[in-house]
């Protein structure tokens, strides 16, 4: 406990951690500022332009809407004569909606449902995976600097039991990341509510929202953050360099999440972003295209929706974290500390 408390004190006084707190605060302020801007109506000129755009779309629909609809239905019928399974989704051709063209102040409910998750903060809101990535970054900076500054070897001349040191550092990283991200989440949520309130927007939520939805997703997000911090710390014990971890995280996001996953869509089943979302929200969907040549000779593609379940996400994230923790422990136990 003495070691844990000292490590907490050490962590909270580290400049790298202060830097991360600063980044989080900038993000919180940025999100609130963006909401403030979006909640205030645009200028009269802009509103007029938006109204004009809506009127033009409405006129176009009045003039050609039915014609477009008929053309679509006819084409679909012709294709279905060849292949009855073909669906051109003609029902999606709809008259223009005013809210799509002209500014309207968002409500609390809009914001919550707009994110697809039950909150507006980091954990419960738009980016639990971003919160997880930040937790990894924080842990990597904390542990990596211990190696690069050499203070870990000095530390080991005071407490030579490496397993103790290792476990303590992982726990401290987990606690530290959870506290920081939770704080950022609360600040964003409270800030959003205040901005809506000040601007006279509706702030009501469905009954039981806070207890049933928000808390559930907050706990899920916290789990991701703690897991990320622990795994990040463990990985840094292997590579012993915070920069290497940061490069690896950024590299993973750019190469795997953004490039490889587009080339191989089925890879989304194991992507950390999808699994993180699935864990927090209960499930996560992704689509792949299924293409084949029909008996008629036409090459037809259809979208297939896949679901990443929370069970799958828990297993995958858990296994990855356990592997990282064990590997880090072995490396630290057997390796030389300079």
């Amino acid at each position: 406990m003495r070691l844990l408390m000292t490590e907490m004190r050490r962590l909270s006084n580290r400049q790298a951690i202060h830097f991360i707190v600063l980044i989080l605060m900038i993000l919180v302020v940025g999100l609130c500022a963006a909401l403030w801007v979006s909640i205030n109506p645009p200028s009269d000129a802009d509103l007029q332009t938006q109204e004009q755009a809506f009127a033009a779309a409405q006129s176009d629909w009045d003039a050609n809407g039915m014609e477009m609809m008929e053309a679509c239905v006819n084409e679909e019928a012709q294709l279905q004569a060849i292949d009855p399974t073909i669906d051109k989704n003609c029902e999606e051709i709809q008259p223009p909606v005013r809210d799509d063209y002209v500014w309207a102040a968002p409500s609390w409910d809009d914001l919550l449902t707009g994110h697809g998750l039950g909150g507006v903060g980091f954990l419960s809101g738009f980016a639990p995976w971003l919160a997880g990535a930040m937790a990894i970054l924080m842990a990597a900076l904390f542990v990596g600097d211990e190696f690069s500054s050499g203070s870990l070897s000095a530390w080991l001349t005071i407490e030579p039991r490496r397993t103790r040191v290792y476990v303590t550092k992982l726990v401290v990283c987990g606690i530290g990341a959870a506290v920081l991200i939770l704080l950022a989440d609360f600040m964003t949520t409270i800030g959003t509510w205040l901005i809506l309130k000040i601007n006279g927007q509706p702030t009501g939520v469905p009954a039981g929202y806070w207890t049933d939805v928000y808390i559930d997703q907050l706990v899920g997000g916290l789990f991701i953050v703690v897991l990320g911090a622990i795994a990040g710390a463990a990985l840094t014990f292997i590579v012993r360099n915070s920069m290497a971890i940061i490069v690896a995280v950024v590299g993973y996001i750019v190469i795997v999440e953004m490039i490889v996953a587009r080339i191989i869509p089925s890879l989304q089943q194991v992507l950390l972003s999808d699994n993180t979302l699935a864990y927090v929200a209960g499930s996560s969907d992704y689509t792949t295209q299924s293409c084949a040549t029909a008996e008629t000779g036409l090459y037809l593609c259809s979208e297939v929706v896949h679901t990443v379940s929370r069970t799958w996400a828990t297993s995958e994230l858990g296994i990855l974290a356990v592997v990282a923790i064990i590997a880090g422990w072995i490396f630290f136990l057997r390796g030389e500390v300079k």
């Binding site: 000292t6 004190r9 006084n13 580290r14 050499g150 000095a154 530390w155 001349t157 039991r161």
Partner: protein, 463 residues
């Protein structure tokens, strides 16, 4: 005092056959070291000789691949947790977070050890950092950083302090500060191990030393013994130096001229030089012994194995039965050999007492056959092998026996090693001039004319 009475606890640090490999590279190769309790012990060796690796092994910062280690009588790493509370260490450079103040850095360490924070003030005061206690580490000069590291090491109030290259990178002022601090710690009764490749500096601080190269022990003992017990150059002023040089050369001495002076190289007993000249009715105006310093001893010791040449790769050859060791008397001796001017007491206990009491320096030659040194061999007058009768011992380091104290031990060696080491005797390498001349009585001509502070420190510390 008998050998048995010198328990493991008599040494602050002991290593036996310590080994460390990095892949195929041997970093530490069967290192034996004994650091007596109390005083300052220098751990000398060139860069890359295995000093830091040895210290890191002792502190559990890296694993060892063989051998035994004891810290304050406890085997490590097995019982490191029990003993670490009594060991303060600074390995390589001081290591603190740049953004932390001196006080905060020390408070964290005190917290882990459960020490009150007033202990922090105490060590800050002790190291003269009170005025900078609340300054950030990054603003410190190298000397202040080193002092902070020493303060951290002192927090535990340790019995044993280990400093790895403590003056590295310091300016002369900083070196002086650290040197004084280390001296004070030694005087206060603590055991201080300082590793360094700066021999002259260690000579100013250390009471005892271990000299290593290529991961092996070359010599161990008090500074005075290691330097003073060895044959040295003799500077002679005489009316007719040219004739004197001829006379001495004819008598088998290695002589060179230095202006009006002649220098006789590798002299074990100055009286022999005096006699050789007197036999030709030549009398010296003055005779000064140029005692070797640690640097010259070190250069001599490492000359044979060649720094930069992997002499350690040569496998040890076991000595043939009955092979004599350098300086060994004709009669067999099962116990430890003795210190300077040993007179081989009849029974082994007496021998042990003599060894433990005098704590003579042991010089361990590398197991690999050293390069031959014909000049030195030629210089050795027959019947007066330099060093051989004055406590210098040649042995194969890797096969050193485990009995203690090893400072009085002679390990068996391959015959070639023995012969080479004996023949080399004390021969400073070309271009190296020995320093610190001390006048000696030419008739007496014995190194015993010099005070031996190393003996004092070991004996005092051993209690």
């Amino acid at each position: 005092m008998t050998l048995d009475s010198i328990s493991r606890r008599s040494f602050a640090i002991e290593t036996r056959g310590l080994k460390k490999m990095y892949g195929k590279r041997v970093a530490v190769d069967g290192l034996d070291m004994n650091v007596p309790l109390g005083g300052v012990h220098g751990f000398l060796g060139p860069n890359g000789s295995g000093k830091t690796t040895t210290i890191r092994m002792l502190l559990g910062l890296t694993t060892c691949d063989g051998g035994e280690m004891n810290l304050l009588g406890k085997p490590v790493p097995k019982q490191l947790t029990q003993v670490i509370r009594h060991v303060g260490a600074v390995v390589e450079q001081p290591k603190f977070f740049a953004g932390f103040t001196a006080r905060f850095s020390l408070e964290l360490q005190a917290d882990v050890m459960g020490l009150p924070h007033n202990k922090v003030d105490e060590v800050l005061e002790q190291t003269g950092l009170t005025d900078w206690a609340d300054d950030k580490y990054r603003t410190f000069s190298l000397g202040m950083k080193q002092r902070l590291a020493i303060a951290a090491a002192l927090l535990k109030d340790p019995e044993l302090l280990i400093f790895d290259e403590p003056t590295n990178g310091l300016d002369p002022g900083g070196i002086y500060e650290v040197r004084e601090a280390i001296r004070d710690l030694g005087r206060a009764g603590r055991t201080v191990l300082i590793s360094s490749h700066l021999l002259a500096e260690v000579e100013q601080m250390a009471d005892t030393v271990t000299i290593i190269a290529k991961g092996r022990t070359l010599a161990e003992g008090s500074v005075n013994e290691i330097t003073g017990n060895r044959s040295s150059d003799l500077e002679i002023a005489i009316r007719d130096p040219a004739t004197a040089r001829l006379v001495l050369t004819h008598a088998g001495f290695d002589v060179r001229s230095e202006g009006r002076l002649i220098v006789v190289h590798g002299v074990a007993d100055p009286a022999n030089v005096g006699r050789a000249l007197a036999a030709r009715n030549m009398y010296v105006d003055h005779m000064v012994r140029r005692n070797p310093d640690l640097e010259s001893v070190f250069l001599d010791l490492t000359d044979g194995i060649g720094i930069g040449e992997m002499a350690i790769d040569v496998p040890d050859a076991p000595p043939p039965p009955g092979a004599k060791r350098a300086g060994e008397a004709d009669h067999p001796r099962s116990g430890p050999s003795l210190g300077p001017n040993d007179t081989a007491p009849a029974d082994s206990e007496a021998a042990a007492e003599s060894a433990a009491g005098s704590r003579s320096a042991t010089v361990l030659a590398p197991a690999a056959a050293p390069r031959s040194n014909p000049a030195a061999a030629q210089a050795a007058p027959s019947g007066s092998r330099p060093g051989g009768t004055e406590g210098t011992r040649a042995a194969a380091a890797s096969s050193a026996p485990s009995a203690r104290p090893s400072t009085a031990q002679v390990a068996p060696a391959s015959p070639s090693t023995v012969i080479e080491a004996s023949a080399r005797g004390w021969v400073p390498p070309p271009g190296h001039s020995a320093s610190s001349g001390h006048s000696v009585d030419a008739a007496a001509g014995s190194h015993r004319a010099y005070p031996d502070s190393g003996l004092r420190s070991i004996e005092d510390g051993g209690e």
